[in-house]
Symmetry: C2
Subunit: 91 residues, 2 copies
Amino acid sequence: MFGFSFRQRKPNSAQTAKERLQILLAHERTSNSGPDFLPLLQRDILEVVRRHMDVDGDAVDIKLERSDDLSSLEINIEMPGSGKTALKRLG
Amino acid sequence: MFGFSFRQRKPNSAQTAKERLQILLAHERTSNSGPDFLPLLQRDILEVVRRHMDVDGDAVDIKLERSDDLSSLEINIEMPGSGKTALKRLG
């Protein structure tokens, strides 16, 4: 639709198998719209992710880009352990 | 890095100018990892977005895809009005 496109990666080889989470946000605005709220969403979304996963602060990589009519935010998170250890209890 | 790639769209023409938000999540898992938590994140993230924006239920389009080692979630939100009317008070 807009902003991003899906691109499936090649499967991991065994020795690099890790848990990763990537979150991309694209906010398409009209030129006269209000303030950019992606930085606020960034904070809230990271809080939500931490509810479900153990996330090391160093393992979060964030990129924010802005132009007149499009703001985009990319959050890449690498989990400290692989598999079940990285997931908190669900529910 | 993985999962998605950025793709900037052409600017809107005036008559189609609208506020839009796209959120993409890609969760790359090892094959022996625990349950898929993207459906839970979906609920929480939509809640977070609604804190900042007026979102009409009909204006939310969600796609969830799963394979053995990658789950992806695409949320497309179209704001009911353009510009400031769609944004709630920030702060």
